[in-house]
């Protein structure tokens, strides 16, 4: 009985902390300068990208390198709809997310037939192919020089300048993360994790692996594309340079550092790896080496990432939907 109330107490403290943090974040534009607000917005965007990536690499446990492609599809779809069809902002944004989801499903289909490393390679190739498409997108996508976004309007509020964009991005991120948390705890989420752990075992428990693998891919594409659309909104333009292999590896690092297969992990990793370069910026060449040391250290000593480490220290933090920690 006292054990249960301890868990409840832990849950309540967590709720209060979360609410306070949210309050602070929404109030940030009042007391922080444009630079800080911009970085906070980037953290949200990266958190979205890492969360999307986590669906396949964390929950499903497959090496899928298509996250940058989904990110780009989200960004470009948003831009193309906004620029070429003149449809209002909410439509463009939604179209971007859906495009990502559909792309995820399309990538997921052949993924059923392929094993571990082949899947990794095919998604890598897909990534590079998309980048070539952006480069040669000519009049539609702006091609090599990229696309400039017109100013957006949401519910009558002009989304110009960092502060208003940030509030919107923050709101979307919070809602999306709440959705992810619910998915993770739902049947779908748990089914995905079990398929990821062992397809055969899952199948023997009448969980059809095919359906949930595709679901994982679709969800991955959807959430990553949300990040992509927000990215296009924040920067005001998209160009092929932003969707390179380097970006892919960064997303990868975020999920790893934060903690694969959890809801909080990728967010934590995104926050850390968005803030870190801002401090490391002026040490030439050191960034890559420091990243590699960080990753190597984590892989050797803390493979469940920072969040995993925190959970080891404070077991009450552990997410309920997870079974045994890896």
């Amino acid at each position: 009985m006292s054990d249960m109330s301890k868990k409840n107490a832990g849950g309540r403290i967590g709720l209060v902390v979360t609410l306070l943090v949210l309050l602070l974040l929404f109030a940030a534009p009042k007391f922080a300068n444009g630079y800080v607000v911009y970085i906070l917005a980037m953290m949200c965007i990266n958190a979205m990208m890492a969360t999307g990536f986590n669906f396949v690499i964390g929950f499903l446990g497959q090496l899928v390198f298509a996250n940058t492609a989904f990110f780009g599809i989200g960004a470009y779809t948003y831009g193309i709809v906004l620029v070429h069809t003149g449809l209002p902002f909410p439509v463009a944004f939604l179209a971007a997310c859906l495009a990502g989801g559909i792309a995820g499903l399309i990538v997921g289909l052949p993924a059923l037939r392929l094993t571990g490393f082949q899947l990794a390679i095919v998604t890598l190739a897909f990534n590079e192919l998309m980048r070539w498409v952006y480069l040669h997108s000519g009049a539609v996508g702006g091609g090599a020089s990229g696309m400039e976004m017109p100013d957006a309007q949401f519910l009558g509020i002009e989304l110009i300048g960092d502060r208003s964009k940030y509030i919107f991005i923050l709101a979307v991120t919070v809602i999306a993360l709440w959705m992810v948390r619910n998915i993770a705890r739902s049947t779908v989420g748990r089914a995905i994790v079990s398929v990821g752990a062992s397809e055969l075992a899952a199948a023997s428990l009448t969980i059809p692996p095919v359906r949930y693998k595709i679901a994982a891919f679709g969800l991955s594409g959807f959430f990553t594309a949300i990040g992509g659309a927000m990215f296009a909104l924040l920067l005001g333009r998209v160009s092929p340079e932003s969707f390179s292999l380097g970006q892919l590896l960064l997303g990868f690092a975020m999920v790893m550092v934060g903690g694969m297969g959890t809801v909080v992990g990728p967010v934590l990793g995104a926050i850390l790896l968005t803030a870190a370069p801002e401090f490391l910026r002026n040490i030439a060449g050191a960034e890559e080496i420091l990243y590699s040391f960080l990753l190597i250290g984590l892989l050797l000593f803390m493979p469940s990432g920072l969040f995993g480490g925190l959970c080891a220290l404070f077991p009450s933090l552990r997410e309920r939907h997870l079974g045994a920690t890896p």
Partner: protein
């Protein structure tokens, strides 16, 4: 033009074949796909540059020293970074290789990041003219060296008892351990071997291209394409895939469009894996429950 394209394609393909071979050797024997292999190859080229141009050693000595140094690097990586996590899911090992590639690239960028290094040509023989076609000494060296290495490996793995033992050990480390094979030592040797092949490829290619820290990334993807085309995990397939890739890439550029050359390897990967994942020489994997 056709003849020149094919010739050039064989020369390019020989490099792809070599890199794909090195990766396949490691994959077949330890089930690890080394995503850092392109940067290992890049590191080999840079180490060679150090010995050849900075230390001023003669070519043969520099090459041997490079291979020796790279073997040590490979052994260190296996012992310190791979072995501790060898029992963990492949996902994590793959991530480790990615982290290693970051490290190599960061290191070379920190030292040489601000410039691009030229390498002197290996041999100075004048090019051979066959009708309308040109065959440079560089091409010849690459093709001959690659062919020799391939033959060497092939005969070793398929015809010597040690080679066959290695193949068996890779399929079942436990079984191998049961019959007395020292699996960790075996793993270390395979890493050393794989890295040595990357070093040799780096030595061969460096004079043809120019050295810069990012030269490994594109090669990695080409090697993947070669392995995929030829049949994943198949040694002969890796070589065949590399050569076929090299030739078809050149032909595509010459007759279709040079802008398609850039994504040719990716298209190959996509088409093969979607249509016939087993590749040219591979066998479809059937897991029996």
């Amino acid at each position: 033009m056709l003849g020149q394209l094919i010739l050039s394609g064989i020369s390019q393909g020989a490099i792809y074949a070599l890199v794909a071979l090195g990766m396949t050797v490691l994959y077949r024997t330890t089930a690890v796909l080394n995503f850092g292999y392109g940067d290992t190859f890049m590191l080999g080229a840079f180490v060679f540059y150090v010995f050849l141009k900075i230390a001023g050693m003669p070519f043969a000595l520099a090459a041997l020293m490079t291979i020796a140094v790279m073997i040590i690097v490979g052994l260190l990586i296996e012992r310190l970074l791979i072995r501790p996590i060898a029992a963990r899911p492949h996902l994590l090992i793959a991530m480790m290789t990615i982290a290693i590639s970051y490290m190599f690239r960061g290191a070379t960028r920190m030292i040489w990041g601000r410039d691009v290094q030229p390498m002197p040509a290996l041999f100075d023989f004048p090019p051979i003219f066959i009708g309308d076609m040109v065959l440079t000494s560089q091409n010849v060296v690459i093709m001959v060296a690659a062919a020799l290495l391939v033959i060497l490996f092939f005969s070793f793995f398929n015809y010597s008892s040690l080679g066959k033992l290695m193949q068996a050990a890779s399929h079942s480390p436990r079984g191998a351990a049961l019959i007395g094979v020292n699996v960790p030592l075996f793993s270390a040797c395979m890493w050393a071997l794989s890295v040595a092949i990357a070093a040799i490829a780096g030595i061969l290619v460096a004079p043809v291209t120019l050295l810069y820290p990012d030269m490994g990334a594109a090669t990695l993807l080409k090697a993947f394409a070669a392995m995929t085309l030829g049949g994943f995990g198949n040694l002969g397939g890796a070589v065949l895939g590399g050569v076929v890739l090299g030739i078809s890439e050149q032909l595509c550029g010459g007759y279709i469009s040079t802008s398609f050359m850039d994504i040719f390897p990716y298209l190959v990967i996509l088409v093969v894996l979607l249509v016939y994942p087993a590749g040219m020489l591979g066998r479809a994997e059937i897991t029996r429950v």
